[in-house]
């Protein structure tokens, strides 16, 4: 693991400065400052409703921010659709409820974006898809439909589908919290493997074992703010703020 951590470079992958967001009059994100270097693996945790999902959804413009600056891979997020599309094709995302396309086969789910966005020839896109499906260990399901797969398998397909766009950054929004315990491990293993290859990752998750094993930084959010961030060892063994301590005692307590 120490080796993997060395891969973090000085190059900046995501920089968020002074970002604020409101839903109507409700101030969801307040003065977020966050810089992510290439190859960093960040785990974001915090109580429900603290704005974790909103934060990572702002990074690929699924949510619009009203103030501040977000720069992803050298592209500044503005309302310009071209910039948004460019960022989205560089940033992969996995959702809590997988969001596979139920009317397309697993293979088609994976080849769709490369074919239509990257203009990859179909045959090449299929080879690429099979490569990543093998990587998440379900090549044999390629011709099935999402409805025929278990939750864990679906989430791994969703990861493969994102990887087919060969993103430089991956966002995960509670990828395991809709899964049964026995399926959580297969998805986490896939994510660990990805981390070891040096992917820049932002994961919203409450899997603290995963955080300890792969994260270089754990961020704790509450009420729309970043309350504390630290290396995992220090974060878990020696949390500074009271709210972090309370939160950790709640989720690690049982």
């Amino acid at each position: 693991m120490a080796e993997a951590k060395l891969q973090v470079s000085d190059e900046i992958a995501i920089s968020i400065e002074n970002m604020n967001k409101w839903y109507g009059t409700f101030h969801v994100l307040r003065d977020i400052d966050l810089t992510v270097n290439r190859g960093e693996r960040i785990v974001i945790c915090g109580p429900s409703g603290s704005g974790k999902s909103t934060l990572i959804r702002c990074i690929n413009a699924l949510e619009e921010h009203q103030q501040g600056r977000i720069e992803v891979d050298g592209t500044v997020l503005s309302s310009d659709i071209k910039n948004i599309d460019k960022i989205r094709s560089e940033v992969g995302m996995c959702f809590q409820h997988f969001n596979l396309f139920p009317h397309l086969s697993i293979l088609e789910n994976c080849t769709l974006a490369p074919i239509w966005v990257r203009k990859t020839p179909k045959k090449e896109a299929e080879e690429l898809a099979m490569y990543f499906l093998e990587k998440v260990k379900i090549p044999e399901q390629a011709d099935k439909y999402p409805g025929q797969l278990s939750g864990g398998q679906q989430q791994r397909v969703a990861i493969a589908r994102s990887l087919c766009m060969q993103p430089r950054i991956m966002l995960f929004d509670e990828p395991t919290s809709a899964l049964d315990p026995e399926m959580i491990k297969e998805v986490l293993d896939t994510m660990i493997e990805l981390a070891e290859e040096g992917m820049t990752m932002l994961c919203v998750t409450h899997e603290m074992g995963f955080a300890r094993q792969v994260a270089n930084r754990v961020i704790f959010m509450d009420q729309g703010q970043i309350v504390e961030q630290n290396e995992p060892e220090a974060f878990f063994n020696n949390p500074q703020s009271e709210r972090t301590q309370l939160f950790l005692s709640q989720i690690l307590g049982h």
């Binding site: 690929n60 699924l62 659709i81 599309d85 989205r88 094709s89 940033v91 992969g92 995302m93 959702f95 409820h97 969001n99 596979l100 396309f101 139920p102 009317h103 769709l112 974006a113 239509w116 966005v117 439909y145 999402p146 409805g147 025929q148 969703a158 589908r161 994102s162 766009m165």
Partner: protein, 431 residues
């Protein structure tokens, strides 16, 4: 008692049970009859009563068909032959068959033209309805509307060709400009199309005899052919228009959204007959005098708008039924709005909307008989007007209306069967 108590709770299965065939539920036709028709005294009575009613209907209708007369020239002759027996005068159908099909003014030596168009229609819609057919057949689909227009209305082949050229030019301009902005693309495309159409007058007018079929004006169209033309054209136009309206209603652009909302709500709040009267009379006042705006075209526009509004609402229901995550997943993969609509959202939304869309389509097809109210001679207009008003056939109701039923039923039933087949084809397991 003591035995069960001593059995240990722990249990390990050492031999796995083999799979067994499913139980056979019904054994033979007799068992089926007993189970489904004579299951208890109440069901038995119901069955017997039902059989009696079926007997009454069949025994009443049978002599009517069996004694039917097929070869007379008028109702009076027919009554003479029957001499008081029950029997249908089907000779009205044999004698007026061409009028029921084509109306009473379409030149009889040209009947072959709409007939060819009718059969070509099946070739043209086949690749749209059945995904497995080779995609190359879609060329036939693209050519068909223009060819059918030429066949049915006649005139020089240059007219439909120039219409097609205008559309193609507009499309090319659209694809060139759409990279700059979609509004530019639309306006540019529209302008180019209209310009080509206006200029094409200089070609088609002097060459009006070039490859010309005998022209048949719109007011000479009639019979079931008219219903069929209206039905097919309006269904195929209102589906894309309805989808656009549904998308527009969901749009973030307020002007577009409100145009769509007002259009849909207004059209849905007005009876179709009213719109048809508007098409017939009122539109004439708004158009500059002397413009010869075809009546069939006006009716097509009205019926299309009417059913497009309904289809828009059906499709909107389908769009609303999709989880938000689908659009988000498509967006997060980098698909743009048009791609995510076309590849992800619409295929699923339309699949959910199939029953509703078919409902509208079947309703629309049947509603085409309403044009008889604005004195067009469609199938119903023909029956009520020229045929029943004629001295020969005054009073032949049953036979004629039965024929009308037999014209419409197979088509509407066919559409509904196709939609059920399509739903089964599209099923990809639960979500």
């Amino acid at each position: 008692m003591s035995d069960t108590n001593t059995t240990p709770v722990a249990f390990v299965r050492d031999a796995m049970l083999p799979e067994q065939a499913a139980p056979i539920t019904a054994a033979g036709p007799l068992a089926w009859i007993k189970k489904n028709l004579f299951d208890g005294w109440f069901n038995s009575i119901l069955t017997i009563v039902a059989i009696y009613f079926i007997y009454l209907i069949v025994s009443g209708a049978f002599p009517w068909f069996y004694n039917g007369v097929w070869t007379t020239d008028s109702l009076a002759e027919c009554r003479e032959i029957l001499q008081g027996k029950t029997g249908g005068c089907f000779s009205v159908l044999t004698e007026r068959w061409p009028q029921l099909l084509f109306g009473f003014k379409y030149p009889s030596e040209e009947y072959w033209r709409p007939t060819i168009a009718f059969f070509a229609l099946f070739v043209a819609v086949a690749p749209v309805l059945f995904n497995k057919l080779p995609r190359k057949l879609l060329i036939v689909t693209a050519i068909f509307p223009f060819a059918a227009f030429w066949l049915i209305w006649g005139g020089s082949i240059l007219v439909p060709i120039m219409v097609a050229v205008g559309l193609i030019v507009g499309y090319v301009v659209f694809t060139r400009l759409v990279y700059q902005s979609s509004a530019m693309g639309m306006i540019g495309g529209l302008v180019a199309t209209v310009a080509v159409w206006m200029l094409s007058g200089y070609i088609t007018d002097p060459l009006s005899g070039f490859l010309a079929l005998e022209p048949v004006p719109s007011r000479d169209m009639g019979g079931f052919m008219l219903n069929f033309i209206l039905g097919v054209t309006c269904v195929s136009l209102s589906l894309p228009l309805g989808i656009l309206l549904a998308l527009g209603r969901q749009s973030d652009m307020l002007i577009i959204k409100w145009i769509c909302v007002v259009f849909i709500e207004f059209i849905r709040g007005v009876p179709l007959i009213t719109l048809l009267f508007v098409a017939n009379v009122v539109l004439g006042y708004f158009l500059p005098p002397g413009t010869n705006f075809d009546l069939i075209l006006r009716v097509i526009i009205m019926i299309t708008m009417f059913s497009a509004a309904y289809i828009a609402e059906v499709v909107r229901g389908g769009l609303a039924a999709l989880p938000k995550g689908q659009a988000e997943a498509a967006g997060s993969l980098g698909l743009d709005y048009a791609q995510s609509m076309r590849l992800i959202i619409l295929p699923q939304a339309l699949k959910i909307s199939i029953p509703g869309i078919v409902n509208v389509a079947v309703g629309l097809f049947k509603d085409t008989v309403l044009v008889s109210v604005i004195s067009m001679f469609d199938l119903v207009g023909m029956i009520r007007g020229p045929i029943l008003a004629s001295t020969e056939w005054n009073g032949v109701y049953w036979e004629l209306w039965l024929a009308a039923v037999l014209f419409f039923f197979p088509i509407c039933y066919g559409i509904s069967q196709y939609s059920q087949w399509l739903e089964r084809q599209l099923a990809t397991g639960h979500r």
